[in-house]
């Protein structure tokens, strides 16, 4: 099991956009299971006015995808910290059929199950699902990431 202190070594994102709390299971080169706890103190809930309907507290889908993507990155990195003098970053470059089936709200723990489908050169293809308990929250057919400099020199 990988704790949050290890995740901070492996991923470059920081508060409030480091969206994986813990790795529950990792099969190198194959699959990973991670969790991200959603709480009412998340910055995304700060601006909601009192009296807003329950659905206002649906966890943002953009952050759900980011959290899944960071889990996929942890699978791909496979416990290896990025090379220090390498200016390239692991970047999310695309997805196919990212489908949301239910909402997550404060108190829910997102569980991402990610499977690495293939790696071609510096590009990885992953697939997976997100759960809260036994409730399916999202499915994704393909998520694509690559390693490249943030903005190549002109």
């Amino acid at each position: 099991m990988t704790g949050h202190h290890d995740i901070r070594i492996l991923l470059p994102q920081r508060y409030p956009l480091l969206l994986v709390d813990r790795v529950l299971d990792l099969v190198p080169g194959e699959s990973i299971v991670t969790i991200k706890a959603v709480t009412g103190t998340e910055p995304c809930y700060a601006g909601i006015p009192d009296g807003a309907p329950a659905s206002s507290y649906d966890y943002p889908k953009s952050l759900m995808i980011e959290s899944f993507g960071q889990s996929a990155a942890l699978l791909w990195l496979d416990g290896r910290a990025p090379v220090e003098d390498d200016d390239s970053t692991l970047m999310f470059i695309g997805a196919r059929d990212y489908h949301f089936t239910a909402a997550a709200r404060p108190g829910d723990v997102l569980r991402h199950e990610v499977r690495l489908e293939s790696v071609l050169a510096d590009t990885a293809f992953a697939t997976g699902r997100t759960w809260v308990g036994d409730r399916l929250i999202a499915t994704v057919t393909t998520l694509t990431a690559t390693r490249r400099p943030v903005r190549p020199a002109a």
């Binding site: 994102q13 409030p16 956009l17 910055p43 601006g47 649906d58 952050l63 980011e66 695309g94």
Partner: protein, 128 residues
Amino acid sequence: MIGIPAFAAPLRAVDTLDVRQQGDDFELVARITVDGKEPNLRGHFPGQAVYPGVFVIETLEQAMREAVNARLRTVRSVRFLAPLLDGDLMVLTATAKRVRDGWEVIGKAVLGETTTAKVRATFEEDAA
């Protein structure tokens, strides 16, 4: 200018929004200037602010909520082609075609003449 969203959102992802109705369908143009001092971008990444790809999806979601109170259901495909950095102005143009229980949306984000993202998605009407 669009106000702060009254629903859970990582940031205000739309500065201005133009909506043009064409029968049941419509076209929208959302603009956002990337602010490297925004808390999310301080964390993505420290020392190098990059507008996260998923925030292009957030921009589309906030624009669709503002325009027709619709919710994202499926990202059919999205491709991020070029990064957006501090100070960049992203212009996201999308067409939303009315279907039985929502909208089919095709969008393209540009930075000047560079296409930064392409997205196809389906949205549903707010059930609440």
